[in-house]
């Protein structure tokens, strides 16, 4: 079980109110990702759930019981830290066994669990090494191993992949997803990388300055962002926002169109000159300075032979236009 409910939770550090009243339901077995810009309170929220920070007011319920004042060790949650937080003077085996030892489990049972976790995470050959003798990815796996042996109600991850290189990040991302498939335990995952959010989450929670902007499945957020912030945050490259005449024509204050929903044609709605062309191979991102709508980012297939200075015409997909009112809310 791993059902977590936050009701009107707030957090202030002294005078500074970091989390205004916030409600959130996390269902058993869900993979929930917190995303948001740096400093928006993702880590703080996760630490509140973990019990590492005291909440200023409100209530946290885990599996139906009030856990607001339960110390972190008793909440049945396991956390994987950004810095891994491995115990440097203990071997990998001892690191993984530490929570079991603290729970007073007998030695044989500990060993069995550690071996099992090591097998799942491909760490069997490294059990007698110290953290200092492991690569970043291996350390990350040890940290995950230390979390899974406890069979927690939920896993909490705070940007666990941000110290890894790009290639390893992709592999570890898939490993964590697979782990979730196997264990079917609730996972709460903090990241500011929206690719991680989109690929891993069952449910994404978009945070901005401590407030929840929107909660939903990755495709929900992509297809129907509730406001400008979510629209701009989810999707890469960022959605283009157009104001002024062109927006007024669509009877809104801000008109949003994603780079992938703009087609290069002849006689399209907007005409302009390519300022910058980023060739990624499969795709090309164009920055086009248009006469009517300012600068637009366009995503075209890598096959197209377009370069700096070319003059092109763009046509948005009519059913993929996002309209926002003066308050930034989607219409």
């Amino acid at each position: 079980m791993g059902q977590i409910t936050l009701s009107s939770v707030t957090k202030s550090f002294g005078e500074v109110n970091v989390i205004p009243p916030l409600d959130l339901d996390i269902n058993d077995g869900e993979f929930v990702v917190f995303v948001g810009p740096s400093g928006c309170g993702k880590s703080t929220l996760l630490r509140l759930i973990a019990g590492l920070e005291d909440i200023t007011s409100g209530q946290i319920r885990i599996d139906g019981t009030d856990a607001t004042d339960t110390p972190p060790g008793k909440r049945g949650l396991a956390m994987v830290f950004q810095s891994y937080a491995l115990y440097p003077h203990m071997t990998v085996r001892k690191n993984i066994a530490f929570p079991l030892k603290m729970a007073g489990m007998d030695k044989a049972q500990q060993d069995a669990k550690v071996e099992n976790a090591a097998r799942i995470l491909n760490l069997t050959n490294y059990l007698d090494r110290r953290p200092g003798q492991l690569s970043g990815g291996q350390r990350q796996r040890v940290a995950i191993g230390r979390a899974i042996v406890r069979e927690p109600a939920a896993f909490l991850f705070d940007e666990p992949l941000s110290n890894l290189d790009a290639a390893l990040r992709v592999t570890m991302r898939q490993e964590i997803s697979e782990l979730h498939q196997t264990l079917k335990t609730t996972m709460i995952y903090v990241t500011h990388d929206q690719v991680e959010a989109m690929t891993m989450a069952d449910k994404i929670v978009v945070l901005n300055a401590g407030r929840i902007e929107q909660v939903g499945s990755p495709l929900d957020l992509y297809r129907s962002p509730r406001n400008l912030f979510v629209a701009g945050f989810i999707g890469s490259p960022k959605m283009n926002f157009i104001t002024g005449d062109q927006a007024a024509r669509e009877s809104c204050v801000t008109l949003g169109v994603r780079p992938e929903h703009l087609a290069v044609t002849t006689g399209g709605r907007w005409n302009g000159t390519i300022g910058l062309a980023e060739h990624l191979g499969s795709d090309t991102f164009l920055k086009v300075v248009t006469d009517e709508a300012g600068e637009l980012t366009v995503r075209v297939s890598g096959e197209q032979n377009l370069h700096h200075g070319d003059r092109i015409s763009l046509e948005p997909q009519a059913d993929r236009l996002y309209r926002f009112n003066a308050d930034g809310l989607a219409l």
């Binding site: 973990a50 590492l52 110390p71 972190p72 060790g73 008793k74 949650l77 396991a78 956390m79 830290f81 950004q82 810095s83 937080a85 491995l86 115990y87 440097p88 003077h89 203990m90 530490f98 929570p99 603290m102 729970a103 230390r146 406890r150």
Partner: protein, 278 residues
């Protein structure tokens, strides 16, 4: 190619050591200067075979060991306390360091006259206020009293080194252990102490060097007495060469002290030196 600095340092060390070694083989009495004759190992023989020698040897080791125990245990405790966030942290930290700046002679005199004096000392007043008999620390328990005085002046050193080590302990590690269900005591045993071992080793090694040669505190408080109850090797060397005018015997004692220091150093390095390797 040996650099000039190394040569200078070598001379710096070898000249006094060589002269001490040379004097230790002479019959050299300050009352009869210019009458030195070769004495062979006589000085060593007489120095070791005086009754005071063995008590001085044990006193030296007791003094070093006692002060080390108090300062490391006390230092860890104080460092843990000072690591907690509280109001007026800066001031308290300066105050804790203060004893280190007091000269050994001064601190020993303050302790002797203002705290431990059986008539006017603060401890005597407290004892009297509680209706107890004042205790004459320096004559009843001279060595223990000196250990207390020396430990008091070395405690700040240990505290400071251990405090900086504590502050370099990764917060996330502590939080991870907390999540893992470790109690405060378990976190201390499994995380804090292992993290501190290197600093504890440094504290022990550095203090040992200085504690082997404690002298001023003994001179101004008990003068090595009563009898030889608080005489350590350096004090015995002093008594031999300057109170008995026997420079030869004193030098022999000095050489013995050097040998003892080396034995202790080898012993310590064997025991805890590997903590210094990363």
């Amino acid at each position: 190619m040996v650099s000039p600095a190394v040569i200078l340092l070598f001379l710096w060390m070898i000249v006094p050591l060589g002269m001490t070694l040379y004097f230790s083989f002479l019959r050299y009495n300050l009352l009869m200067p210019g009458m030195e004759t070769w004495a062979g190992f006589d000085n060593y023989y007489y120095f070791v075979n005086q009754p005071a020698f063995w008590s001085a040897l044990t006193n030296t080791l007791l003094l070093v060991g006692g002060v080390l125990c108090i300062t490391t245990v006390g230092g860890i405790a104080l460092a843990l306390l000072l690591d907690q966030p509280f109001k007026g942290q800066g001031i308290v930290r300066v105050m804790v360091i203060a004893p280190f700046f007091v000269m050994p002679t001064v601190s020993a005199l303050v302790w002797k006259n203002m705290f431990m004096n059986p008539v006017n000392g603060m401890f005597a007043h407290i004892a009297k206020a509680l209706g107890m008999q004042p205790y004459d620390f320096l004559s009843q328990a001279p060595l223990a009293s000196i250990i207390l005085i020396v430990a008091w002046s070395w405690l700040p050193f240990a505290t400071l080194i251990l405090l900086t080590a504590l502050q370099s302990l990764d917060r996330e590690q502590m939080e991870a252990a907390e999540m893992d269900g470790a109690s405060w005591f378990n976190r201390f045993i499994h995380l804090v102490l292992p993290h501190l071992t290197r600093s504890i080793t440094v504290v022990i090694l550095i203090q040992t060097i200085f504690l082997l040669s404690v002298f001023a505190e003994i001179l101004v408080t008990t003068n090595g007495g009563p009898g030889t109850a608080s005489t350590n090797l350096p004090f015995l060397v002093y008594a031999q060469s300057l109170l008995n005018y026997d420079v030869g015997g004193g030098s022999a004692g000095g050489i013995i002290a050097v040998i003892l220091a080396n034995i202790v150093a080898i012993f310590l390095m064997r025991m805890i030196g590997r903590n210094l390797e990363s």
